[in-house]
């Protein structure tokens, strides 16, 4: 009888836990964001940005996914944009750049404060997947939205993006990438 009572108590507690668990696992969807990159080379600096980035973040499991259509990157110089898609990224073959990973720390942030943490996962650019640990900064806004910022470096060689010898002075071998995303709870 005693064990039965105990079991019943555990059952009750587990029932109570259920809403708590589901409340924690809110999936956030990126509603507004920009992805940009910057290449600094002796002859010229190249930068481009995209506002077509999409992302999902599950604060319960810590799972993160990011997707950017490569053709959505806008350049100042139209010819560069064409070459970026045609010669370097081969966007017709590999239309998206993506990231799939998991937060390494549990996501418990106080409203209004920012927390730095790492995301471990697979970064796919130009059809080549590389395991990466990427730092992010997450901030809970008072309106319930999440603000995520990240800056990291992508080495073109890691993703088999080749620079012709002639262009070494125009294109950096390592490109700085920045992400700025605002997430709101997914309906």
């Amino acid at each position: 009888m005693h064990t039965m009572k105990k079991a019943f108590l555990v059952f009750l507690v587990s029932l109570l836990m259920c809403p708590a668990l589901t409340a924690q696992t809110i999936t956030y969807k990126c509603s507004k964001g920009t992805a940009g990159f910057f290449s600094k080379a002796p002859l010229e600096n190249i930068e481009a940005a995209s506002d077509k980035i999409t992302s999902l973040l599950n604060t319960g499991t810590g799972e993160v996914a990011v997707l950017i259509p490569v053709k959505s990157f806008k350049f100042e110089n139209g010819l560069m944009q064409e070459h970026f898609n045609e010669n370097y990224m081969e966007s017709d073959k590999y239309p998206n750049a993506s990231f799939k990973g998991k937060l390494l720390d549990s996501c418990v942030v106080q409203q209004g404060t920012a927390q730095r943490m790492d995301v471990e996962g697979e970064l796919t650019i130009h059809g080549v997947t590389v395991k990466r640990v990427i730092p992010v900064q997450i901030k809970y806004n008072s309106d319930g939205s999440l603000q995520v910022a990240s800056a990291f470096v992508v080495a073109l060689a890691d993703h088999q993006i080749t620079i012709p010898k002639l262009m070494y002075k125009n294109i950096a071998e390592k490109v700085d990438v920045t992400l700025d995303l605002i997430f709101s709870p997914k309906k």
Binding site: A7, T27, A65, N77, H83, N87, K100
Partner: protein
């Protein structure tokens, strides 16, 4: 009873995490969303340059970009060792072309051959695309006007300005069939205000062009213009050009061989005097350098 409770507890503990994970892979969810969103994928880079070789291509330069274009033709190969097989002589066209909008370009040029000034207008009517809308070809209207200023010694021409003007109009229809192959066909009308008595003012022609990519940065190009000329044996021939395009960052370098010396429609469509079989071949190149005045504002679509 006791057993039932334990089973239900275990069952719950198994089920709860399951419902959490049943949401599936977030990335595939994003990919599905992206695929469901109907966006038009506008075909890029049907040709590498605004010219296939001599003929205009369906490519336009983007809004607020200026293209400085130097077209250069050496002399005839068959002019012999004394003229270093044509390399001693040169004709050149300097051009400035500007993207008013992504779909409207204007340009001016000056050719040393016949001392011609030209101005043109180019309008992209349709853009080849897939996705939300499917358009199988790109369609571009091109019109130009030329003023030949070479002194002729003919008093009538010297006294009448209109005689020096000529016009060309064409509708360029092109399709990028694959990454490697693009083809173009264009009906052309050239109108000469003044022609000698044995020739017609209007000349109709069909221009064919194409490019095949041999590597990421190099393509082989061809253009051929068939004149529908009612007058035979008037000393003019169909223009045939073969060449390669090499991309080097901000430049596109085009190297070619052609039987036309003129670099604007009025001359290479209607007044090509060279013949390939006679060795009247001109080696030439076009260099184009694109400057952007677009600033950081996003390009218009």
């Amino acid at each position: 009873m006791k057993q039932f409770n334990i089973i239900s507890i275990i069952g719950l503990w198994i089920l709860v995490p399951l419902t959490i994970h049943a949401q599936g892979d977030l990335l595939s969810e994003l990919e599905e969303d992206a695929a469901a969103e109907a966006v038009s994928d506008i075909t890029m880079a049907t040709f590498k340059s605004t010219r296939i070789i001599n003929t205009q291509s369906v490519e336009l330069i983007p809004a607020s970009h200026l293209d400085f274009r130097i077209s250069h033709r050496f002399g005839q190969i068959n002019s012999g060792a004394y003229n270093f097989w044509g390399l001693d002589q040169a004709t050149i066209r300097l051009g400035l072309e500007y993207g008013l909008w992504d779909r409207i370009n204007i340009g001016v040029g000056r050719s040393s051959f016949q001392k011609v000034y030209d101005g043109y207008f180019k309008l992209k009517i349709l853009r080849q695309q897939t996705g939300a809308r499917t358009i199988p070809v790109s369609l571009v209207w091109f019109s130009n006007m030329s003023l030949t200023t070479l002194k002729t010694g003919n008093q009538y021409i010297e006294d009448h300005f209109y005689t020096r003007l000529a016009y060309a109009h064409q509708l360029l229809i092109a399709r990028k069939f694959s990454q490697g192959l693009s083809l173009q066909v264009a009906p052309v009308l050239v109108h000469y205000n003044y022609v000698s008595a044995d020739r017609e003012n209007n000349l109709y022609a069909v221009a064919f062009g194409g490019r095949a990519k041999v590597s990421k940065r190099i393509s082989v190009n061809l253009d051929y213009i068939y004149r529908i000329d009612p007058i035979r044996d008037n000393g003019y021939y169909n223009s045939l050009s073969v060449g390669i395009d090499i991309e080097t960052g901000g430049h596109v370098f085009q190297l070619h061989a052609t039987n036309s010396q003129g670099m604007i429609e009025e001359y290479f469509v209607g007044q090509t005097t060279g013949r390939w079989q006679d060795g009247d071949i001109y080696i030439g190149f076009n260099i184009s350098r694109l400057f952007s005045f677009a600033g950081k504002r996003t390009r218009r679509g």
